[in-house]
Subunit: 144 residues, 2 copies
């Protein structure tokens, strides 16, 4: 692979990457650190708040328990239509409560045009508390 060179590593999101996150439906792969040190990977719907990346999860998920134990996360964003163009973002996570379950609806409306409950009833019925995972970039390595 590697048909294009990397940009230098920075701690903010390059303009092209911001544009991609804002204008596309970004299914990002998020790596957290398991109890045994092995990376745990999940796919999430991702949105942006300034330079931070946000996604929704629940307190019952393994990735949440991993982040509470070790708040470091690494994110890979690959535009499906341009798989040679991608960004690896290493960051530190803070977790915020989402008592009104607002983020799942916000993101579901962007990604599917439906409220979260209409898109995924069983997900919406999960009684576990919803939280917002906020990833603040420390290093961004991209060829976007």
């Amino acid at each position: 692979m590697r048909p294009t060179p990397f940009t230098d590593s920075v701690s903010t999101l390059p303009e092209q990457l911001r544009k991609h996150i804002d204008e596309s439906n970004v299914f990002a792969t998020v790596a957290t650190i398991g109890t045994d040190g092995q990376p745990h990977l999940t796919v999430v719907w991702l949105v942006r708040d300034g330079d931070d990346l946000l996604y929704s999860t629940t307190v019952s998920r393994r990735q949440y328990r991993n982040l509470i134990r070790d708040p470091r996360a690494t994110v890979m964003i690959v535009p499906p239509e341009s798989p040679y163009v991608y960004a690896e973002i290493r960051g530190t996570v803070t977790v915020e409560p989402d008592p009104d379950r607002a983020l799942p609806d916000q993101v579901s409306l962007k990604f599917t045009g439906k409220n979260y409950r209409d898109f995924n009833p069983s997900g919406a019925d999960d009684p576990a508390d919803r939280v917002i995972v906020r990833i603040t970039p420390a290093k961004v390595h991209s060829r976007i």
Copy 2:
């Protein structure tokens, strides 16, 4: 997300996942473990040999140095046309020499229809030794 349930965790590749890997161009995200424990993510062209996943890299890459230090890797496969369907594969890596640089050509022909040199001249000119990374699954968690 989560519109479909997970299959149980297994240590072999489900038939549907094999079929997807064989018949599609799989750009997989591979997580290795950095010196500080934080996951390092890259995107690779992936092919299959039985239950093992194979990709090519060089001995100058960080992911290679990570794997020599700690041979655990986690792979995420997401079909771009079906992003709600995915597989997380945790495995252990063995590294094999590739003195004839055969794997880059094999995979490039599958993915691009061109020899690796024709697709990516600067990559082919990289003098660093090529190796085959072979990931043997220990746990496969999928909804494919």
